[in-house]
Symmetry: C2
Subunit: 428 residues, 2 copies
Amino acid sequence: MGAIQLSQSPDGAPIFSVTARTPTNIAVIKYWGKRDEALILPLNSSLSVTLDPNDLAATTTVAISPAFEEDKLWLNGKEVSISDSVRYQNCLRAVRERAQGIEAGGEKASQEQLRSWRIHVASRNNFPTAAGLASSAAGFACLVFSLAQLLGVTEERPGDLSAIARLGSGSACRSLYGGFVRWNMGQASDGHDSIAEQVAGEEHWPDLRVLVAVVNDRQKDTSSTAGMQQSVRTSPLLLHRAKAVVPERMVAMERAIAARDFQAFGALTMADSNQFHATCLDTSPPIFYMNDASRQVIGLVEQWNAQAGEIKAAYTFDAGPNAVLFCLEADRGALLRRLLYHFPPSDSTPLNEYVESAELLKEASVSSADDIRDLPAPEISKEAKPGLQFPGELKYIMSTRVGMGPQVCEKPLEPLLLDARTGFPPVS
Amino acid sequence: MGAIQLSQSPDGAPIFSVTARTPTNIAVIKYWGKRDEALILPLNSSLSVTLDPNDLAATTTVAISPAFEEDKLWLNGKEVSISDSVRYQNCLRAVRERAQGIEAGGEKASQEQLRSWRIHVASRNNFPTAAGLASSAAGFACLVFSLAQLLGVTEERPGDLSAIARLGSGSACRSLYGGFVRWNMGQASDGHDSIAEQVAGEEHWPDLRVLVAVVNDRQKDTSSTAGMQQSVRTSPLLLHRAKAVVPERMVAMERAIAARDFQAFGALTMADSNQFHATCLDTSPPIFYMNDASRQVIGLVEQWNAQAGEIKAAYTFDAGPNAVLFCLEADRGALLRRLLYHFPPSDSTPLNEYVESAELLKEASVSSADDIRDLPAPEISKEAKPGLQFPGELKYIMSTRVGMGPQVCEKPLEPLLLDARTGFPPVS
């Protein structure tokens, strides 16, 4: 069975569809600020780690048929107007323009047909959007990837598809590859060289691990699109960061990844997260994405690193209060113990919902709420002030790792995103 | 009665003393980072507003006598070792070197005598140190000012005394003048041109008002000395701020003050506070002085300014979570109403302790806890999210204004800092 599924609508029209799954990614050298709003061209290059799509991914079914009357989009089961979204239109148009042809199940569709038929898109995430983990990056990457498969679009130059995904959401371009991914800022005014490129594959650093501490936040954050516009307009530090700081950090980060040097990787990751949030604070009015719980996570990581005399864990924060924490496999249990000591679950949260991974709990030697209550205060250096405890300030802690890029789903989804017979979401 | 008091010790030795009061100050263009640690020479010039010493001041009695056996220092009634403090030694030495002579009450002391006799210093603040309001700036300025009076030291060049106070604490140099004060970073390697200078007197802007929102903080802050060392060592943004951003802001701020332009003054004050905290965040490990309560104060000010379409209030934060808020006299009641709406006192805090000034409460039309409970939600612009309420997150709100520089106290203090007969703090 190939990538493209063929079915027939009730009145006999062919419906071609493709389903694919695309990972999310977390930047370790941050993207903040555009030099071109329409083309989504960044002020600086950035670099991300692709997260395992088994834990965090968007799954999208795209379908095309002469039976469809208009382009339609459903996100997490809810219809969203494409005509209101320039970004969706730009992505659809760019892939459609490059359509070649379809041949599947004995049926064919010509280039001309593909350019005139309408498209249905349905997408969902396998993680709560509350996690604030670049769901739009995974979503746009998945739309572009699956649509390219459907319409037989091949890249003329490597990275062409990433440049299309970039039109949907800047960081989406990095979700088209697994492992470690660089987004080159590019120089061209049409943006054709502002593309993503894999720096190292998902097997490159097998013992790198990721924990995500999802924070209970009271307030809605500034959207990253609006936030970076404000920063570009008002922060005197942002351009200096983009021009004078990031280029060196990109080189150093690639070197750290190539050498699997966790010390350098961790130090750069933390410094760049902090600098990104510093430029947010330097914005008028200032933008705050981190809150006191975020600060406490930073504090516990910094205390651990200071006490150990080396970097045991490294934090990074995107445009929200949740912490993404890197560590090596051998230290993951110890990291979870420190997190659980400072952030025990609230009394009403069952442990297996707070930390879903049984394997991870085992590594931390924690199997009950009593075990958490009995955790000793973590060792800290003599000069350090003992950290405080904040029960209930985290929603949950999830565990993931470096993951692969987009994949076509060969097996039918359960539940289906689009009904094969209608090309619409199944009626529930 | 002159500035110098003469008394006699039990064994007949003369005790000469001077008591003076010196204001604290709040920087509106911030000082952060030294280019010389020993001489306390800053990376950039800064500018401050001197706060009314009737509300916030250090009061110091300095005494000199052949009867004293060693230099001694008492801060807020507690003896502090001078031999442990290079900064106190540097200030004492620098003033003593410049001693001329004393003539008071018919007694004389020669230059030689003054250089060999020991000195007693006792100082206290008229505000809780918990207010985190540059108590060391007022303290060192007061030591240098009162000692100069005692030893007959006059400035060879204007600002000489401020350069000595700078050796105690950088921002202390700005507390030697009232009104609006610039600290020129200077160029000389010996620091003689790194001095404070008055930009405008305390009568210059009569309707400028200051509220201080003192925050309940759970954690001890990083000391500013240690913090700025870390920033200089690790923040890639700090030097850019000092070299490329601050010089223009100094010019613009002086212009705003000269023109009593609250719009420009407020915008620059907020931007520079935020940029200072941004460089703290850009430090490795990052330094956080503001907490969630500080963010909420920023939020309510920004919301008010956005709704009004002009700057009604401006915030600035030093190395701690407390907000210093500027507004014009006509808006002070409205500012307090917004503060009280978002930050009502805890149930156990009497209103007249939460806001001491009856005049201020009257301006806000608030006279009881019920009045606070009944405050309507402040008007905000349509796009804004309504702000939340945080009972008990502030300790108290105090009111002050622009104030005068150091003054000799002609009348005896109640209670005395040093007993005239012994030269030691009175036994309580």
